[in-house]
């Protein structure tokens, strides 16, 4: 035996056969049921989305490692997991460049730029998803399959419609590719059994989410709607696959319990009070940022320092943090409830100012019961599809000193603005001529859509008597009822024109 060839290294000299690659493979396997179901339900396009998502992630990491002259890391399988998670969280109707861009962003910006595996501070797949949500808002919330668009179970729940719970659990309702609750649950249990994840984060997440929804949600502790909330909206995927990402979650058991609770509470908070389509994604990435702090306060007491009963001491700091988070949630909701009315008042006051602006020679504004009845008859629905998403809010009648009607102010909103809702007041005289328009809600892009609020644009409407205005995108209008679009802001301009037309239509049908 040649002793010169003996290996020398530090103890221990044996190793468990589990490797990083094996851990990642387990997670990929656990995601397969959801992926298979998504492909089965949504067809080839969904398969392509998943494929492109995974391929972009792997290729990006490979290219970065080559360019930055670092050792190749794609064989540890973490890029595949990120790509697959991102792909599963997308709607099956997104164009294919979306998963590509999302994966590139997730791997390059969130993982590689911070040092690669183990060094990212936010979940890459979720950050990629949030990047896509902010960048391509309409594409990401479009769930129409084969041209049929329907509401997701959560949107339906919010609108007060009935939702079929068993369909949702199985995954036959509208949603993202990896939306099948049962498939995700199977994957999650597989991971728990094989030791890929531990129970603390999913249990704490789902439990605290359910409690929060019960306390603050619209339906309270009703079991079927709680179950619906848990099965929809990415809670299961978040609880078992996203929040449990080892790199961005705490290391110790007690830390993980706290983190799960924080994530659950934040998810509930965003779902009840937030207006974004996605609550769980933002909740998890915000909770990711609390992880270094949670780690710091949750170092367990080792053998020799524990209290005599043998059980670890009560994690005071962790409990305090949970209480603080709960109090913050309570405080936020209380302040919201308290200021709701006052904010309404302020809006009304702003409205009054705007009414005066569009209907100048008026002594007072009164409301007319007949007209109000007609507005109530419209319900909460849009006025007419041809105007897009417009709603009649309110009509007041302008009376002069002698109490004769001199004009009307119709407050109308359009949800088709580039950056949210546009609300304006349209002043009409007794003949239906537009006296002027004035905005009470305009949050468009500075320098573009905001220019709709300028006199240059608004004055085009003044003094015109027509049934409907027409938007001229190219400019150079000749007829009275042609409106030049604000250069570069045709969406905003179009929304405004539609809103005015809605007001005119309502006037023609209900006031004249």
């Amino acid at each position: 035996m040649n002793e010169k060839l003996l290996n020398m290294s530090s103890s221990p000299h044996v190793r468990h056969r589990l490797t990083t690659g094996a851990v990642m493979t387990d997670v990929t396997l656990a995601l397969l049921p959801a992926a298979v179901f998504g492909i089965y339900r949504y067809g080839i396009h969904a398969f392509l989305i998943l494929l492109i998502s995974v391929a972009s992630a792997v290729v990006t990491e490979f290219l970065y490692d080559m360019a930055a002259k670092k050792p190749l890391t794609i064989k540890d399988g973490s890029a595949v997991v990120t790509g697959l998670l991102l792909g599963l969280s997308l709607s099956p109707a997104v164009p294919l460049y979306l998963p590509c861009l999302g994966s590139v962003f997730a791997i390059l910006f969130v993982k590689c730029f911070f040092g690669g595996l183990g060094k990212n501070f936010m979940n890459p797949a979720l950050t990629g998803r949030c990047f896509l949500l902010i960048s391509f808002g309409s594409a990401m919330t479009n769930f129409s399959v084969d041209g049929v668009s329907s509401a997701t179970p959560l949107a339906a729940l919010r609108a007060g419609e009935a939702v079929n719970l068993s369909q949702t659990v199985l995954g036959y309702t509208t949603g993202v590719i990896g939306g099948s609750a049962i498939a995700l649950l199977i994957g999650g249990i597989f991971l728990l059994i094989t030791g890929g994840i531990t129970f603390e984060i999913p249990a704490a997440f789902i439990a605290s989410f359910a409690v929060f929804m019960g306390l603050f949600g619209d339906q309270g502790f009703d079991p079927s709607s709680l179950l619906l909330h848990i099965c929809g909206g990415g809670v299961l995927m978040g609880a078992f696959f996203m929040a449990t990402d080892p790199v961005t979650s705490p290391v110790t058991s007690r830390g993980q319990l706290l983190y799960g609770a924080v994530t659950g509470i934040l998810s509930g908070l965003f779902r009840v009070y937030g207006s974004s389509a996605d609550s769980v994604s933002y909740a998890i990435i915000i909770a990711n940022m609390t992880v270094p702090f949670i780690d710091k306060i949750s170092v367990p007491k080792p053998l020799g320092y524990r209290s005599i009963s043998g059980k670890p001491q009560f994690p005071k700091a962790a409990v305090n943090l949970t209480i603080i988070t709960l109090c913050a949630g309570l405080a936020l909701s209380s302040v919201y409830l308290l200021t709701k009315d006052k904010i309404e008042e302020q809006k009304l006051a702003a409205n009054a100012a705007s009414y005066k602006e569009v209907c100048p020679d008026v002594e007072s504004f009164v409301s007319d019961d007949a007209i109000n009845t007609k507005i109530e008859a419209l319900g909460d629905g849009i006025y007419d599809e041809k105007f897009g998403k417009t709603f009649i809010n309110n009509v007041v009648v302008g009376k002069d000193a002698a109490d004769t009607t001199v004009g009307y102010v119709i407050s109308v909103s359009s949800g088709d603005g580039y950056d949210g809702t546009i609300t304006l007041s349209v002043g009409l005289d007794t003949e239906g001529t537009v006296l002027g328009i004035s905005f009470t809600e305009l949050h468009e892009t500075a320098g573009m859509g905001m220019l709709c609020g300028e006199d240059a644009f608004r004055s085009q409407f003044t003094g015109v008597n027509t049934d409907a205005f027409i938007l001229n995108k190219a400019g150079g209008s000749t007829a009275d009822n042609e409106i030049d679009s604000v250069s570069g802001a045709s969406t905003s301009s179009g929304a405004v024109v539609n809103a005015v037309n809605t007001a005119l239509a309502f006037y023609a049908s209900s006031i004249r």
């Binding site: 902010i134 594409a139 892009t445 250069s487």
Partner: protein, 228 residues
Amino acid sequence: MNKYAERIYNGVVKENPSLILMLGMCPTLAVTTSAVNGIGMGLSTLAVLIFSNLIISFMRKIIPDQVRLPAYIVIVASLVTVVDLLLQAYAPDLYAALGIYIPLIVVNCIILGRAEAYANKVEPGLALFDGLGMGLGFTIALTLIGMIRELLGSGKLFGFSILPDSVSPIAIFVKAPGAFLVIALIIAVMNALHIKNNSADLVKGCDGCCNHCSKSGCQNEYKEDKPV
């Protein structure tokens, strides 16, 4: 090159206020939603910078040392108000677009930083060209960032649609996160090409953590010309 040209080169390349000195980040990131906005802001700051540097340099022997900061602020605030009124009168669209960031030019770190670090020490000619260089550098940086954000985020360049309608732009770039991403990428590219602030290697002790100016307006002793 002669000393005046050197000032221009310094302001545009070697010590670009946005990309190397990292001054005035707030207006940089907030205003550059389009190239035109970037140019507008840059030129407004340039105007203020040239005149403030010039005036402060002329008055450097008169301004008492203990009240130099209040004095600078009075001078700069007056200049900014002048610019504000001129914009309001002759360029109302730009005025509406830049909004609140015009009055904020008063506390833009570049103005006060250059006044403190440079203009109050040199003769007016050099101060003038320094202001010119810094202002040009700022304008170029802002225009560059604005162009990238506008192109990626709304598919336009200088107001003209570049991307075809079928390709939707990546909206995040005209919002706040996009601003950070774009400037980070530009600085990363510059680092990769080795155009960075080499004086960082010389300074001992100061790690640039003070938010106000990183190094050019530093009040304490950790200046690069004074070995610690």
